[in-house]
């Protein structure tokens, strides 16, 4: 896997999908080495902007160049001034994009049955993964969910890729009413799944991890943590994660993730500083006051 590149990428198309916008960019440098689970960091606001930080998006598709230049796709939800600017960019506009960033989903060497769980537009990075798993001969089940029908993403493409998809919404406007974790145990049993892959909000990932653990199988989850740089220098996107040595550390979700094993993430300690974290003792000698990197 080669490292990230920074490239000026032309917007090839922007499509509306429910409440989301699906971007296709001509980005041959990124497309050449991107893997499912990785993400890109996009500058927003234009040259004179007051918004300094990039916005990060999981890759929905990566098509390396051949006869045509390589392209990437990602999905944007409008939830602030940066994404509002982004979704108004016309076809042909150029974006400054850094990628591919982060860790990809790890795929088994041999085909194993897998359940993919997507929350909202968190389904996006699961689609290229589903394609690879199916191509590799794995049995795949997909369950996608959202608060309401307009916030679902990827139902059609998931159906096209794996043949069928289970849908849930909190309000019952599509599929079965409830959470994605409701049908999950049944789907795991149905194909005797050996692994669960998930992307979505933190609460969902935690719940998916718990279901996987009850079935004694691993869950690889891609987190959506807010980031400033996306490349590992700013230390803002950290999560408390248990390492191979059994000790927990704040690790960067941009370079050590975004894909983690769910049972390694200390979900209940997100936003806290647990005493047993490596280096926590070094913090207690000094009062908590902001102002230092």
């Amino acid at each position: 896997m080669s490292g990230p590149v920074q490239e000026t990428a032309e917007i090839f198309s922007v499509q509306s999908v429910g409440e989301y916008k699906q971007f296709t960019l001509v980005a041959p440098g990124i497309a050449a080495s991107a893997r499912p689970g990785q993400f890109v960091a996009v500058s927003v606001g234009g040259e004179r902007t007051s918004m300094l930080l990039r916005r990060s998006f999981a890759l929905y598709d990566m098509t390396p160049g051949g006869e045509f230049a390589g392209t990437i796709q990602f999905v944007v939800a409008e939830n602030g001034p940066g994404t509002q600017w982004l979704v108004r960019q016309p076809t042909g506009a150029r974006l400054d994009v850094v990628g591919p960033l982060g860790t990809p989903f790890r795929r088994p060497n041999d085909p194993v049955p897998a359940v993919l769980v997507g929350g909202g537009y968190g389904t996006a990075p699961l689609i290229p993964l589903a394609r690879e798993l199916v191509a590799g001969g794995s049995a795949v089940e997909v369950v996608i969910g959202a608060s309401t029908a307009a916030r679902l993403f990827g139902e059609l493409v998931a159906r096209r890729t794996v043949g069928h998809v289970t849908v849930t919404t909190d309000d019952g406007t599509a599929g079965q009413r409830g959470l994605v974790t409701d049908p999950l145990p049944e789907l795991i049993k149905k194909i005797d799944a050996q692994v669960v892959y998930a992307c979505g909000p933190m609460g969902m990932l935690r719940a998916v991890g718990e279901v996987a653990r009850e079935h004694a199988i691993p869950a690889q989850v891609a987190v959506e943590e807010s980031m400033a740089c996306g490349i590992g220098v700013c230390m803002t996107c950290v999560l408390p994660v248990r390492g191979d040595d059994g000790r927990s550390r704040f690790v960067r979700s941009c370079v050590d993730g975004p894909v983690f094993l769910a049972d390694r993430v200390r979900w209940s300690d997100v936003g806290r500083l647990p005493d047993d974290l490596v280096g926590a003792a070094g913090m207690t000698r000094t009062p908590m006051r902001g102002g230092a990197r």
Binding site: A228, V238, L277, A292, R293
Partner: protein, 319 residues
């Protein structure tokens, strides 16, 4: 093409663009985007004696033309830093400024000792503007005697061939007084400025947006404050070199700092938005000096402090 070389006390640099402490980790990640040996120097994230977890999340909030952070000096501790980060920088042939931070004077001293004689260390930046307090809930650099004590002790403990720069906070009544105290205690130069203390409230959760409550404000929003500090310190201690920083995002931003009296500049928050910013800013600064008829960067240092006649006289010589 202007001669871009400069000096920070006895430290000679081929160009005046450095990274800023805490904005480039230890250079390795930026090395994916450009050769870090081409920088004037890498300034590493402040290191302490022990590993530090840093503060709980959220650690960052974007603000107009800036950002607020409360990382809390997350780091691996000095031993791991020397074995891994400094060794990597040495292998790359990168000039390195090591930023050190301590909870007490003794910790700064011990850090300076650990770095003594290390071939990769070109300079030490003493982060006395971090919020780790020795007494009375104040940062060292808010207090004349605390600043003097730390800087004096580090200067005595550190390798005499390695310049030490005191990094100051703008959150003081008179930065010139602190700068003079550091100069009198043996600082070889001054790094200006650290972040300004700020606050953002999350109006949906009704709480401060950051886990650390307050945070350090950086980015172009603080650039005029940083420039003002460089200007005032240049007048207060004209004999000491200044490493300027605070919201530098372009070659012209860097030029303002040079004209105000900085001998070199650090590029910090701009890197988060554009990992190749330091190299772009270097090229832009070189072009800006050429356009203005400066044969050498060193001719432009502090140029804005000259009166109109002096500026006129120098320009006719150089152009």
């Amino acid at each position: 093409m202007a001669d871009m070389s400069t000096t920070l006390s006895s430290f000679r640099l081929p160009n005046p663009i450095l990274t800023a402490s805490g904005c480039a980790a230890a250079g390795r990640e930026l090395g994916q985007f450009f050769d870090v040996a081409e920088l004037g120097a890498v300034v590493t994230k402040s290191i302490m004696m022990q590993p530090r977890s840093g503060r709980p999340t959220p650690r960052m909030a974007e603000t107009p033309s800036g950002m607020l952070n409360s990382i809390g000096l997350q780091g691996p501790g000095i031993d791991s830093f020397i074995a891994n980060d400094l060794a990597w920088l040495h292998e790359q042939g990168a000039r390195t400024v090591v930023s050190i931070a301590g909870g007490q004077t003794d910790e700064f001293v011990e850090l300076a000792r650990r770095l003594y004689g290390h071939p990769a260390v070109s300079m030490i930046e003493v982060n006395i503007s971090c919020p780790n307090v020795e007494s009375r809930g104040q940062v060292f650099a808010c207090d004349v005697s605390a600043s003097s004590r730390v800087i004096g002790a580090v200067r005595r403990a550190a390798d005499p061939n390695v310049p030490i720069f005191a990094k100051l906070t703008p959150d003081v009544t008179d930065i010139g007084t602190i700068a003079r105290a550091c100069a009198d205690s043996g600082a070889d130069g001054l790094s200006l400025i650290n972040t300004l203390l700020g606050l953002v409230i999350d109006v949906d959760r009704f709480t401060p947006a950051l886990g650390g409550v307050t945070g350090g404000l950086s980015g172009p929003a603080i650039r005029p404050v940083a420039l003002r500090c460089v200007w005032q310190v240049r007048q207060a201690v004209p004999h000491l070199p200044i490493l300027g920083m605070g919201g530098i995002s372009s070659g012209l931003d860097a030029l303002q700092f040079i004209l105000a009296g900085a001998s070199a500049v650090s590029v910090g928050t701009a890197v988060f938005g554009d990992p190749s910013a330091p190299m772009r800013i270097l090229a832009e600064l070189e072009a800006a000096l050429d356009e203005r008829g400066f044969a050498a960067l060193s001719d432009a240092i502090g140029f804005a402090h000259l009166d109109a006649d002096e500026r006129q006289a120098r320009m006719t010589v150089t152009v």
